[in-house]
Structure formats: C-alpha cells, structure tokens
Subunit: 338 residues, 2 copies
DNA sequence: ACTTGGCACTCGAAGGTCAGGAGTGCCAGT
DNA sequence: ACTGGCACTCCTGACCTTCGAGTGCCAAGT
C-alpha cells in the first residue's frame, strides 16, 4: 500500500512544511532531499498519499500539506524523538535545580518548557489525590479560631482558617494535633476520609466538637482542592507562530482549567511516556489546528501529574517531544530529591 | 484656549471612537451628538484641538482619533467614574465571597476583573514587605531535616525545607518554635532581620547551630520572596480587541513579572485611589497602544498591593475605572474579614 | 466675530484586470 | 516502473480605477 519511498516522501513533506510553513511541491522536494527519483515520480506518489488522506492541497495547483492523519503517521512511524543537546540538559538542570519550593518548581518548569520549545507550556501541579500526608499542623490563632496547614509529600501546602464552636485550650490543640498526625502521617489523601472516620470516638468527649469541626474542614479542603491546579505560560509564542485563525479560541481554552486538564490527557500506565494529540484528535473543537505533546512526571515510578506543550499542528515533533520528555524526567528527579 | 464647546467636541470624539473604533468625522459627530452647531463649526474646533495635540488624523481626509494627550484630558476632566450596577455589585460579592484561601481570592479576582472589563486583569499578591508575621511553624520531618512554614497576616504561606547540620530533638524544635513565635509574632516582615539578629545569643549554646541555620533560611525566604508575586488573566480578551499591532509584545510584557509590577505602578498615598496610565505614559515601550487602570487594595487603610487591568488605549475609561475601583474595595473587605 | 453652506481636493478602501510562476495531472516514450 | 513534456489551474502581487468619507478654506450670513 505504502512502500518505503512513499513513506520517505511523506516524511520529507512533513519536514519541509514544518520548516518553511509553505505547501511543498514535487520539484522542491526532489531538490532538497535526494530521493533519487524525478519530480514526476514524486507527483505520482503524492497522488497516492493524497488519495489515502495523508496530505492535501490547499487549492488546486498548490503544493501539498500534511493532514492530521499524515502527522500522525509521521509521529508514529517516521520520526524519532530527538534527544536534547548536552548544553540544553545542563541548562535544564541549572534552571530547575535552583527552585526553592513547589511553586517555584512549577513556575520554572513552565518558563523552561516554553522557552525550550518556543511554544505554550502547560504544567499541572502534583495531583493531590496521588499525594500522601507529610504533616498536618494545627495552630491556635485566637480563642475560637484555629489555622490548619496541610503539607503533602509532593510539597503542596494547603491552609485554612477554622472557626471552632467553643473556646479551646492550647493543650487540646496540641493533643488534637498529635492525634491527627499520628493517624494521618504518610496516609494517601484519598484514604484520609476513611482513616479519620472514627477519630472523634477515640478522643475525650470534651474535645469532640472541636475535632469534628476540624475534620470537616479538612475533608472539605480535600474536596475543594480535588480540582487540580494547572498553569500555563509562553502565550507570547502563540502570537509569534502566525496562527492561521482562532488565536482567540486557543487563549480561551488555555484559560479554562477544565479544558486544559483534559488536554493533558489521562494518566498513562508508565510515567513519562509521551502522549501526542494532533489537531482534531484532541477533545476541544477550538483547538483544531493545534497539537499537544504531553508526558506524565513523578518521583520514582508513580505518576504525580502531567505536563506538556501546545503548539500548531505544524510543529517540530521530534524536537518538541524530546524537550517534553527531558523536562518531565528532570522535574521528577527534582521532586524526588526535595 | 479651549472653551466648553471644544471640550464637548473632544469628549464626543473620545466616546464615539471608543464605541465604534473608527476615526470620527465632523458630520457623524454633529449627527450623533446634539451639539447644536453645524459640521463646519465642528471642523474648526477640531482643527484647534488637533493643533494643540489632543486629536490626530491617521491620514489626511480621514476622521480624527484621540491622542494619548486627548485621552488624558478626557480622563482627568471630561469623564466621571461610572459606578457598577447593583447586579454587578452583587455578582462581585458572591463570586469573591466564596473564596477559601488567599490563592483562591487572587485567582477569583483575576477572573472577575477580566470578565467584568473584558480586558486583561492583573493582580498582585499582598506584598510580603507590608505584611506581618502571624505564625511561624517548625516541624521536624527527619532527624536532620526541618520544615518551616511562615504564615502572614494577609494569608500568605511560605514554606521551606531546612537541612540542619546536626541531629535535633523534638524538644529543641519545640523550644525553638516557641522562641521564634514569641519574638516574631505580629512583627512586620521588614523588621524580622533586626528582630532575630540577637536571637541565637538568647539560646542555650547547643541549640545555636540549628537556630542559626533556621534563621538564615528564614531570612533567605524573605529575600527570595521579596520579589512580588503577580498574576494575570483574560488574555483571550486581547485577541478579541482587534489589536492594532504588537499583540506579541503585549503578551511578552505580561509574562515578565518585573514589567508587570512596574505597570501597576508605585504605591499611592491613599488606598484604592485610581491610577491611569495611558499609552506612551507607561514605562514600557512594547505597550504603546495600551493603557493601564490600577488601584491599590488593602484591609483597612493600609495598601497591601495593587491590581488593575490592561487594555487598548481606546478603552471605555469610565466603566473600566468603576470596575477596578469596586473590585479593589471588595478584595480589601474580603481580606480584612479572613 | 462666530457660524455656516458650498466646493474643490485628498487619500484610503475595495474591486477589477493582468502577467507571472509554481505546481499539478496526464500521456507517451524509454 | 520511471521520466520528460505539455497543457492547465489558480494563487500572488502589481497596477489601476472608482467611490466616498472627510477635510480645509472661503465667502456669505447673522
């Protein structure tokens, strides 16, 4: 159906189109790549490729442009992820290594990815549902007011003010704190509700009302923040890539957490496996014309969250994929270390 | 120099141009506003206005367009801040009232402002330098590793991992925590360095190395985060406002914290006083063509930080100013309450 | 001393025409 | 199965024309 030469032609078309942003014709193809055949032959192959839906022409008598299907074939079978240069690796290490807390890691990652790929970078915060409790802190800030700080093993810090129904002494706060930490230390956030279910019963009755309030706020926090946190950066790169149409739509999509999350895609089995969504493959109509390259990241073999970049379908997939993969790995390392 | 009618003409020009986005001519002016004079008269006035630099024509024989100077005069003398409708006020209250922590307040504020004004919203986190310590928490997470959490009265939470030079017992951590809080509670962040300067001396000698490390990290945190935190949203609105040129530049400016900060401007004497920077008045060349409307916000009469919107110079100043002022006030209230 | 109607003039926007050229499809020849 | 040749398509850019909104100025009117 598609012999080797036709595949080579498709690859050449993708590469040329990506680098020139102009429909590519048979003659220039024959010139730039030494395929060893004449333009006429290439024309025949192109006709086949077009028939099968891998390429298309914007109008009669223009060159060919890859379709989404064409890019898909290219990504799956015709290209290899391009590893980063040594200098780039070092730059990543330096830049990410300087991060001082989780917020910092995420912000830096976004900047880094955007700069590296010259596209829009999207990074999800380590998912709460896949984190465990490192510490719960309870502080008495007034007679009837506590502050709770929840710290996860991934470095996320959630904090809440709690108004309790009755005066509470420093001692009971200390006790409650100890009990909470004893029960929850290392506990997966998803298991917290069941773990704390019977907690009030194990407390002296006079502490129960306060404990109940604290616990309800704690659970509420987990629910509230169940919605994942996600950020993007490098929007300026969008304007640079002379976007055919719909820059508006793209920006809108980027500002919708929900859409963004779906874009990054489902968790994959193995972390840092690359997911590529090309044009119409992705789940949001405003993003025809854009592709997403994403990967999971995590410390160890557990995928904590995802990150990736979004750019025109006409992007340099090998390079982009290389950058995303490398960054995902480094971020994982950084998180594991802290 | 500029009699009342000329001012009225200028006002009319600004209003028409803002609403139509097309150079406005003498005839349509005479039609739409009842100025009681003929187009010819208006032409004469326009000539004067142009001579004085308040308006300009894109090319000979086109209508007139306000210059930055013209907008300035309009804002200063010809317009009144337009208060929000009752429905809008309620919407703000509802939307902002649901916020659950500082991050949430800021995120919601950005969304709200962007939606209300249909422009790009910029919000600065409450400045650390103008906050005071509510609580310092010290947690022992491993034998040689502590976690420090710094909570300010404005709700900001900063957190750091500290590797200490020697094993440290729970008791010394508790002691150090108590001492720290005793010394720092309510202390302005700017005063922290001097306040803690002599702290190690007041500790038993065996605790000093650890204390020194902790303090150095604490001070470091204050310095690191001295750079203010600032976010923006509503970039999609930029694409909608068919920006003359330089959408690229604007997006770039928005992604530069430093530029963004300078845009919001210096602290003003009275909180929630409105600052308006029009086109070339603002300190960044990429932003000719855009105006910034900003206000300070804070709980009580202390300005904690600033917020505002950025849009084309051709914006509806009265409405925008009204929205910014209202939101700034509400945010102040929300922060004061929590 | 302003204001006004009239009038000639300017200049961009929109549309039409035309040549050039890159690219195609097809066919006949090797 | 490949290749050269050829007619055809249709976009691009340059150039021109028309059209109309808007101006500046002047002379007349109040």
């Amino acid at each position: 159906m598609l012999d080797d030469r036709k595949l080579a032609v498709l690859r050449a078309i993708v590469e040329d189109y990506v680098s020139t942003n102009e429909p590519v014709g048979s003659k220039s193809l024959a010139d730039r790549h030494n395929l060893g055949v004449s333009p006429a032959t290439i024309r025949n192959d192109m006709a086949t490729l077009e028939e099968q839906g891998y390429i298309t022409q914007p109008h009669t008598s223009a060159g060919r442009v890859p379709t989404d299907k064409g890019y898909r074939l290219f990504v799956d079978r015709l290209s290899q992820v391009k590893p980063l240069s040594g200098a780039e690796r070092r730059a990543i290490e330096n830049f990410l290594g300087g991060a001082v807390d989780l917020d910092d890691v995420v912000t830096r990652t976004v900047r880094l990815l955007a700069q590296l790929t010259r596209q829009v970078a999207v990074v999800q915060y380590p998912s709460l549902t896949r984190s465990s409790v490192r510490h719960v802190e309870l502080v008495r800030v007034a007679e009837r007011r506590l502050m709770m700080v929840l710290i996860t093993n991934t470095g996320r810090v959630e904090q809440r003010i709690i108004d309790v129904p009755e005066n509470v002494s420093e001692e009971s706060v200390a006790h409650l704190r100890a009990v909470l930490n004893g029960a929850l230390d290392g506990c997966w956030l998803t298991d917290v509700p069941t773990t704390v279910a019977d907690l009030p019963e194990r407390l002296p009755s006079e502490e129960r009302p306060v404990a109940a309030t604290v616990l309800s706020v704690l659970l509420e926090t987990l629910v509230d923040k169940h919605e994942e946190k996600i950020v993007f950066g490098g929007a300026a790169n969008l304007a640079a890539a002379d976007f055919s149409v719909g820059l508006r739509e793209v920006l809108e999509a980027l500002e919708e957490q929900v859409v963004l999350l779906r874009l990054l895609g489902e968790t994959t089995a193995e972390p840092s496996a690359l997911t590529v969504r090309i044009g119409s493959e992705n789940p949001y109509s405003g993003l025809r014309g854009t592709s997403i390259v994403a990967a999971g990241y995590g410390s160890g073999d557990k995928e904590l969250a995802r990150l990736g970049v979004l750019g025109p379908t006409r992007m340099d997939y090998p390079v982009t994929m290389g950058a995303v993969r490398a960054v995902a790995r480094y971020v994982g390392q950084i998180l594991a270390a802290s």
